[in-house]
């Protein structure tokens, strides 16, 4: 059966095409000059440049972390280009009609039509191509509700007070090696502000696409939900199939003020590299949210791509009665390596967190859950529930669980459950005896395993996630 599974997993990556878009790309290399040029390209104010430079100086003094259970050759940060933008973006298009049709075609091929009439009703999209945002849809409709949804490069100009106040407030510049690098060189990303008491009238989503060779993508997302507001945001990512590894080091910051709620979902499908482990994206991402009183942040992620994933979406439960949730499906196959999990930092009284992690390993991949639950002295009556389930397909893959618990408040309760199971021969036989082919059988069993997480995704995307899993698993049996 292992052999069947391997065959099924040896499948082509569907988003692996390269778009023929003329780009303006910096020559590889990183120094203060490069940062000045990025800032200049974006026409940034002086304070932004200073912020970048101070992060860069910190970064120079930091070491690349090596504690994660991932193994990859040392990254040469001087061999990466830190800025690439389609030439047609130079005079920023004012409307969709002015956007390079090749760019629109790229997103259409990925199943994300940017023509508003063709889009999923009720979903606004910001499309980020290499280093710049190419288009943001449904902006007028959102503006009517007072919602700001725009590229962060634009927010720096139009909403400097909000950016100055919150950028780096959740993930400090010096937080970690990749975060510091991102602060220095980030090029674009999405900015969201939901005003007090407002329920965002549609799903917001950003699609990230890395196209250019030897280019890193360092996007930056900042979402602020003002008091009593509500927003659901989805992020999707793909990249062409290339033999060289590409670096993606994003920072996402969420601020949920009193009584606000943010639901952040990710469907990550970066190129994972080939069967031998050649190529693929290195995905080193820092995502963190802070919850004020009675606020709630839910992270839901479906991770199927990337050669190496290093990612721990976290919640700082600062206000009393605030809630943090983390629902994750991470699928690894071939030679993929994922070290992912979450951190729940309980500061306020009666704060609650829930962690449901589903790791699926196939082929020769390695899949680790790493989670920290910290109950600070002030976290009276706080609670955490953690459930980590691993599913193994075949017998050459690995699943690992590293739960860390730090409880400094005796009234806090931390519960942890973990299971490891296999797609069994009996289950496969049952499915096949009922007429299902082995591929359908595996994908159904895996989807069943992930059900608790999928039900947290916005409806349209739950279907998409299920399909993505099915595609990723295709050929896993034969």
């Amino acid at each position: 059966m292992t052999e069947q599974i391997d065959k099924a997993l040896a499948r082509e990556y569907e988003a692996g095409f390269v778009s023929d878009v003329e780009s303006e790309t910096f020559t590889p290399g990183l120094d203060e000059d490069v940062i000045r040029r990025i800032s200049e390209m974006k026409g940034e104010p002086e304070w932004m440049l200073e912020w970048r430079l101070s992060a860069f100086r910190d970064w120079l003094k930091m070491d690349e972390p090596d504690w994660a259970l991932v193994d990859y050759p040392k990254i040469d940060f001087q061999a990466i280009s830190y800025y690439s933008a389609p030439k047609s973006m130079k005079d920023k298009p004012k409307s969709l009609d002015e956007v390079d049709p090749e760019l629109l075609r790229t997103y259409e091929k990925l199943g994300i039509p940017l023509i508003e009439q063709q889009m999923l009703a009720g979903v606004a999209v910001d499309a980020v191509f290499d280093s710049v945002s190419v288009v943001t849809t449904f902006r007028e409709k959102l503006e009517e509700a007072g919602v700001i949804f725009c590229p962060i490069s634009e927010a720096i100009h139009k909403h400097p007070d909000l950016v100055k106040k919150y950028l780096g407030s959740v993930v400090p510049k010096k937080d970690n090696y990749y975060a510091a690098l991102n602060c220095a060189v980030f090029t674009d990303g999405s900015f969201v502000y939901i005003p007090k008491g407002t329920r965002c009238p549609m799903e917001l989503s950003t699609y990230f696409r890395i196209n250019e060779q030897n280019t890193g993508q360092f996007e930056r997302t900042l979402i602020i939900a003002d008091e009593g507001s509500h927003v659901s945001y989805l992020e999707g990512c793909t990249a062409p199939q290339r033999d060289e590894n590409q670096l993606h080091a994003a920072v996402v910051e969420l601020v949920a003020l009193d009584d606000a709620e943010i639901k952040y979902s990710t469907v990550q499908n970066w190129y994972p590299g080939d069967e031998e482990g050649k190529g693929g994206i290195y995905n080193f991402v820092t995502k963190r949210g802070v919850c004020h009183t009675n606020a709630k942040i839910s992270w839901t992620q479906v991770e199927t791509g990337s050669a190496v994933t290093w990612k721990y979406p976290s919640c700082v439960l600062k206000g009393d009665n605030s809630i943090g949730e983390f629902y994750s499906v991470a699928l690894t196959r071939g030679r993929q390596q994922a070290d992912t999990g979450t951190k729940m930092i309980h500061l306020g009284k009666n704060t609650k967190s829930t962690i449901i992690s589903k790791g699926i390993s196939a082929g020769k991949s390695n899949n680790s859950y790493r989670g920290l639950v910290r109950m600070n002295p002030g976290a009276e009556g706080a609670r955490n529930f953690t459930q980590c389930d691993s599913l193994l397909i075949g017998d050459q893959c690995g699943a690992h669980t590293f739960p860390y618990v730090e409880s400094r408040n005796p009234s806090a309760i931390v519960e942890h459950e973990a299971t490891t199971s296999k797609v069994s021969d009996e289950q496969m036989f049952l499915c096949q005896q009922r007429g299902l082919d082995p591929e359908k059988a595996v994908s159904m069993i895996v989807n069943g395993f992930c059900k608790e997480v999928f039900k947290e995704l916005p409806m349209e995307f739950a279907v998409e996630a299920g399909k993505l899993l099915e595609i990723s698993l295709e050929g896993s049996v034969g």
Binding site: D437, M444, I445, G448
Partner: protein, 258 residues
């Protein structure tokens, strides 16, 4: 009338151990055959070999279903050709709802046969009716396949799958064990309601009781991998009274040594 199933001198093994040792059986459309026999005789193995389970290898002999070479087909192709096995020990598939599972199975089978797909609404109606027939609450359609089902519920769930898949040849492997008396009647009625001129059954059981309700056309005794005696329904009564010892063949010398 030609046979639906023909097994000729079948030898099969699992883990290099010979289990089926010269099995012969002919089943005509519409017939019900009961198979009895001591524990470890190879009854379940027969079902697995016929369904093409991984790890069960056929050494020699032939099997045809409706004239087609069954042994040449993949497991799922055999199912699509109309072979159904109700498991002695049904396995759980957590998180996959019964309804989702059954719809996928029915879709796959219909597609393979070039039949039109049933709509979700139609299917739901049929599935609810099937639940009712096997006396399972409709809520079982939403539950994970066999997830947390009691022993008897699992058996009734197998029968429900049979009702929906409408196979040509149903092999029921001890579907009656672990059932309470009411459930036993439900299973028997389920089988009886499906009896038709085109559909045949192989019912593996240890108990005469089920056969009182089902009334098989033939009863066979399987012992040490082959059929050692065949008769009509009255054979089951004889077995109930006397056990299997009088039928058992002498073990071959080399087996004792091994």
């Amino acid at each position: 009338m030609s046979n639906l199933l023909t097994i000729k001198d079948l030898h099969a093994s699992v883990e290099e151990k010979n289990i089926i040792k010269g099995l012969n059986l002919e089943v005509k459309p519409g017939e019900v055959h009961a198979i009895m026999g001591p524990n470890g005789a190879g009854k379940s193995t027969m079902g697995y070999v016929l369904s093409g389970r991984d790890g069960y290898s056929v050494e020699s002999g032939s099997v045809t279903l409706d004239g087609a070479d069954l042994l040449d087909m993949e497991t799922e192709e055999r199912a699509r050709a109309g072979l159904f096995l109700a498991f002695q020990y049904p396995v759980e598939i957590p998180g996959v709802s019964n309804l989702e599972f059954l719809k996928a199975a029915v879709d796959a089978q219909r597609e393979a046969r070039g039949e039109e797909a049933v709509t979700s609404a139609e299917f739901l109606k049929e599935a609810k009716a099937a639940c009712k027939q096997v006396n399972l609450p409709v809520s079982f359609l939403k539950r994970g396949v066999n997830e947390g089902f009691s022993g008897g519920e699992k058996k009734r769930n197998e029968l429900m799958q049979m009702l929906l898949l409408k196979p040509k040849l149903c092999i029921l492997d001890e579907t009656d064990s672990g059932l309470d008396i009411d459930a036993l009647q439900v299973v028997a009625e389920g089988v009886n309601s499906q009896r038709s001129a085109e559909r045949s059954f192989i019912v593996v059981t240890h108990y005469q009781r089920l056969l009182d309700y089902i009334k098989p056309d033939f009863v066979h005794v399987l012992s040490d991998g082959k059929i050692v005696k065949s008769g009509d329904a009255s054979l089951a009564h004889e077995l109930e009274a006397q056990g299997y010892a009088w039928l058992q063949t002498e073990p071959a010398e080399d087996e004792l040594e091994g």
